[in-house]
């Protein structure tokens, strides 16, 4: 019995957003951050309260977001995305439901540059 494919359930809930992904490389023995564009067909919404309530106390004041991506490259923890309005989101956890047609991430609003 195959894993249910749920990508079609996201029809109408996602929109393509062009993010700038910040990746880290080592240049001349120093960590350098570079940004490159990436398009994610995604739904970005504030984290539901019941998920937020399970966070450690000292983390509940952070600005948490849930990111559901229907199509796009798999992100990794600590990746930083910048949306078109300039808000930076840092990926804190990855749930790879690729078999079901989507990935789910938890992200926080990150410090600005």
């Amino acid at each position: 019995m195959p894993v249910p494919y749920l990508a079609s359930a996201l029809n109408g809930w996602t929109t393509p957003i062009v993010f700038q992904v910040i990746t880290k490389t080592t240049v001349n023995f120093q960590t350098v951050e570079t940004s490159s564009p990436i398009t994610l067909d995604c739904n970005l919404q504030p984290m539901p309260k019941q998920d937020l309530a399970q966070k450690p106390t000292e983390q509940r004041s952070w600005k948490w977001w849930s990111l559901i991506v229907r199509e796009g490259n798999l992100l990794e923890p600590d990746d930083v995305l910048t949306d078109p309005s300039g808000i930076r989101y840092r990926i804190m956890s990855v749930s790879n439901w690729g078999e079901s047609g989507f990935q789910k991430y938890e992200a926080i609003e990150d410090y600005g540059t």
Binding site: K24, T25, T26, N28, F29, Q30, T31, D78
Partner: protein, 160 residues
């Protein structure tokens, strides 16, 4: 070139470890996930040996010079046994001919570590081989500052 980058260059040239696996400490650095070696160089502390300044009248600039004995922590880490078997190469690198060339080129003095600390225990269940040693570099930091000088004076009066 800053002393920590000098150390990185010396270690890379002597050991042949890929330059991307040797980094100056940065909180944003993502360690490699493969079993191979990576090395992190970080500043620990320094003793001020001398500090002074001179004034250069030709350019109206103050030249500030500070001589420090900086201690830099060099951590060699790997999941496999490479860090365990190659850690002594760091000490050899700091007294190699490459190190002598960098000393002459950048006007520094490099002293080898006198001990190697085993920090593998702080990795807990991740079972990394992690060893730390301190290299000492005597270096001179020079900066120049332009200062305003009194160069406009009233005409002198001759009083009879």
């Amino acid at each position: 070139m800053e002393p920590d980058l000098i150390l990185c260059n010396i270690i890379q040239e002597f050991t042949g470890i890929a330059a991307s696996r040797i980094v100056v400490y940065n909180q944003n650095y993502d360690p490699p996930t493969d079993p191979g070696i990576y090395i992190v160089v970080s500043f620990s502390e320094s003793n001020i040996i001398a500090n002074g300044y001179t004034f250069e009248a030709a350019t109206n600039q103050y030249v500030y010079k500070t001589v420090t004995a900086g201690q830099y922590e060099i951590e060699i880490t790997s999941k496999n046994r490479d860090a365990l078997t190659r850690k002594e190469e760091i000490i050899q690198a700091l007294q190699s001919y490459q190190a002598q060339q960098y000393e002459q080129l950048y006007n520094v003095s490099i002293y080898r570590p006198n001990s190697i600390l085993d920090l593998s225990f702080i990795e807990g269940a991740s079972s990394l081989h992690r060893y730390q040693m301190r290299g000492i570099i005597h270096s001179v930091k020079t900066i120049t500052k332009t200062v305003g000088v009194y160069d406009k004076f009233r005409d002198q009066e001759v009083l009879n």
